[in-house]
């Protein structure tokens, strides 16, 4: 187990190296000049040339990549030109809100998906099943950014129940208890927009898995032995369904993190996704690089966690 964990963690290194190389290469193909972005369009050519030298932009991109990599080994991700501050500081500060948003969305999506899938499986081929399946399909096919805008329109603009955007009420600095409630109400709409998509996928797969499990020998045995139906569902059904769903949930974590990029922009959530969008618009290579690395690492780690959880839940994969 320990060796397995170390092996998986070591895998992070080539993954991150590959990701950073791709980001660097792609960003160097994208037209746009960070020096021009800093100085504005009417900069004189001399001043531009000076700044390019200062920023090291006159080297070819493989050389710049080498310089950057050297810095990373020293724990220095470079300095962001669009924010005038160290990349590491800016990225870490935005990580918390993204983790909060993504984990809430994943939790909500998993709950919705598991419940919807189980209900559909129990009422297999009945009206409820059809309705749930329809709802799940809707969740999968509606783009979350569109859903986000509709949720804003209905709950914030028309009903006035919830704030439109942001993570906290910008004009108050009240007690911590109030802050928790405040963040919670700001969190509701963006996490719901992400959760419905993840929930759709999880729900669909849960339904399939649950139909299998409910028809399987151990469940039929339990029923035959007269175990109460509720216990059959929770102990035998849900447990084995969950074990099968863990890797799916791990994969969904990737989509939630990816979806957070535009959901954060629509809801002005102060997270890493929005930081990335702004960094790309500003051609801020080092900031993009830092943000993508952190997101990629998060994705790998979440999937590692999913695999480990599955090991714990399902004995059969332990041998593998």
């Amino acid at each position: 187990m320990g060796a397995y964990l170390v092996k998986r963690l070591l895998m992070l290194i080539p993954v991150l190296l590959g990701v950073s190389l791709v980001v660097f290469g792609v960003m160097s193909l994208v037209p746009g000049d960070p020096a021009l972005a800093i100085l504005g369009p009417y900069a004189t050519p001399e001043r531009l040339a000076e700044l390019r030298t200062e920023l090291g932009l006159d080297h070819s991109w493989p050389v710049r990549y080498g310089i950057w990599l050297g810095g990373v080994l020293d724990g220095d991700l470079g300095r962001s030109v669009s924010l005038e501050r160290p990349v590491l500081e800016a990225v870490l500060e935005r990580l918390g809100p993204t983790v909060l948003l993504a984990s809430t969305a994943l939790l909500l999506g998993t709950l919705l998906g598991l419940v919807a899938g189980m209900v559909a499986a129990l009422r297999h081929n009945q009206l409820t099943d059809r309705l749930v399946t329809f709802g799940v399909l809707l969740g999968i096919s509606i783009p979350s950014f569109w859903l986000g805008l509709v949720l804003i329109l209905v709950f914030a603009v028309w009903l006035g129940w919830l704030p439109v955007s942001g993570m906290t009420q910008v004009w108050s600095d009240a007690s911590s208890l109030w802050s928790v409630a405040d963040v919670a109400r700001h969190l509701l709409l963006p996490s719901l927009s992400l959760a419905l998509v993840a929930g759709g996928v999880i729900g669909r797969l849960t339904r399939g898995a649950a139909i299998d499990v409910l028809a399987s020998a151990p469940v039929r045995m339990a029923r035959a032995r007269g175990v109460p139906e509720r216990r059959v569902l929770l102990v035998h059904g849900l447990k084995s369904v969950s074990a099968r769903m863990v890797p799916v949930i791990g994969l969904q974590a990737g989509f939630v993190i990816g979806g957070a990029v535009y959901i954060e922009t629509i809801f002005q959530w102060p997270g890493l996704g929005r930081l990335l969008v702004e960094a790309i618009a500003a051609r801020d290579l080092l900031l993009v690089q830092g943000g993508v690395l952190v997101l990629a690492a998060a994705y790998v780690l979440v999937n590692l966690a999913a695999d480990l959880t599955q090991h714990a839940l399902d004995r059969r994969t332990r041998a593998a």
Binding site: P41, L51, S165, P270, E278
Partner: protein
Amino acid sequence: MDRAERLRIIIAAIILMLNGGCDPLRPPGETLVIAQVAEPRSLDPQVTTALNDFRILVNVFEGLVRYRPGTLEPAPALAESWEVSDDGRVYTFQLKDGVRFHDGSRFDAEAVRFNFQRMLDPEHAYHETGPFPLAFFFEAVESIEVVDPLTVRFRLDQPFAPFLSNLAYPAGLIVSPAAVERWGEEVGRHPSGTGPFRFVDWRPGERVRLERFAGYHGLSGQESGGAREDASIGEQAIQLPGQRTNRQAQRHVGQLAKGQTDWQTRRQLQQQAGSATVTQVGIQDGEPVEARIGEARERRVAERSCAKNRTLVYRLIFRPITDPMTRVAELLAGGVDVALELSPDNVAAFRERDGFQVLEATGPHLWFLILNTRDGPLSDVRVRRAVNLAIDPQVLTEDVLRQTAVPAAGPVPAAFDWANNPEVRPYRQDRQAARELLAEAGHGDGLRLRFLVPRGGSGMLAPLAMATAIQGDLARIGINAEIQSFEWNAYLARVNDGLDDDTDIAEMAWMTNDPDTLPYLALRCDASPEQGGFNSGYYCNPKVDALIEQARRATDREQRARLYHQLERAVHEDAPWAVVASWRQSLVAQDAISGLRLEPSFFLRLEQAAKSGCGAAGGFDEAASNGH
């Protein structure tokens, strides 16, 4: 049924709980929330070049001079007065006495010198806190001399009339030297100036918060923002939320200095102040104004109108909201008070909607076509005039730019009202005359031209849509313009290098802060790309050169204005460009906000901003009723 009912009650209860039971989704009366378009890059006025950041900075910092509200004319700010030597090379500024930075340090001539040395002198101890992209605004400065603590003298290496305009630009805002020494490179995240609002905090991605600076010195009457229109402020019982008697005011300032005060103490002070018919202190024209509280209350009772009850805002919150749809939603929901840079469609919708106001300003901006005056058919002035006669700026600004711009005529944007020649009008569309000119020039059976267009870019408005509309106009006089489009940075690199011999037309836009800048950099014979200038069409007229040179050396503004009038006339006749439009920006605000003005510079000074309505003046009304 029962279950649905229960569910509804639970949802309602949760929402009520989350919202704290009152109406906290709208900012309170003493707070103004402004939706900006991006996270600020830096709050160091010498480091940033973004308009988005300038809108915050002009409320925190002041320069030696500033633009007189509503204009682009330099007027006194931290310098009470100045003298320019007859040769136009020595500027001596008398500084205002008793001014302090927000961090408590003193503003004096030494501070002024520190700021400019930091930008200009590579040997300066804090030059490394840059880069300072706009330092070239002041490159004519040869030396800065501290004559006495309140007198500072700039020597220029040549007469340079735009110097004052450049000082009024945010690059000339004065930063506290103590703050630079303390924070170094991070001073852009800990700004300290002398302006009416002091910086409180910056939560990345969420907000920048400013609060009124209790020790603000105030600018003298005529210079103050919106002074004339707001002359009725006193009559309308305008209240600074921290209104107080003089003695209380002193104590209040003392508390502020000790950093003890908060909104609660301010409330208490108001309650004390409301307990008698004492004089009330507000701010009008930057000077304290006294009005009888009793009178004000009587009037309010008589009118029973909440709308008349205005409160100067105490706190400013700038939110970065990058998504334009979210800015619209926030305005509609009331979560923000002011939003900038909405799409033309949205602005039009808000104009029709109750509860909102739309403010507009036309900037010192010019959108034009560079015509290749050196090579090809456009080297003939008759063909250049024909191009000018073929297009109609009025139609382009209304139909293509949907009123986000106004028609422009000459190389001096109309926003420089003192220098703009009102007699030079945009070319009137006249296809018959255009065809005749073409025939005269020997192109009676048509002409092919190559037309370069960027796909986006700063101040370029809608470059592709404009290009296709212009292409259509040209086709109707027999010119077949072939459009080639480029990404903005690639485009700039190409056009700024000069139009080659088979390129005839290129779109361009500039936003400047002095009428000198654009002609000097883009119309002189010596400003060709090979000589480091931006005269990409290789226009050359020695008479125009002489006018530009004289105007930038003239110290008398009226004389300068006359020279610019002549310049505009000459350029209009030579038609090296087809000048089309000046950019107009708009701002949408809730109706309850007053004292706002979008400046021609597109800055937003919020010293006079006030909110009206019962909610807005809550603090005061409460105080008044508690007092009696």
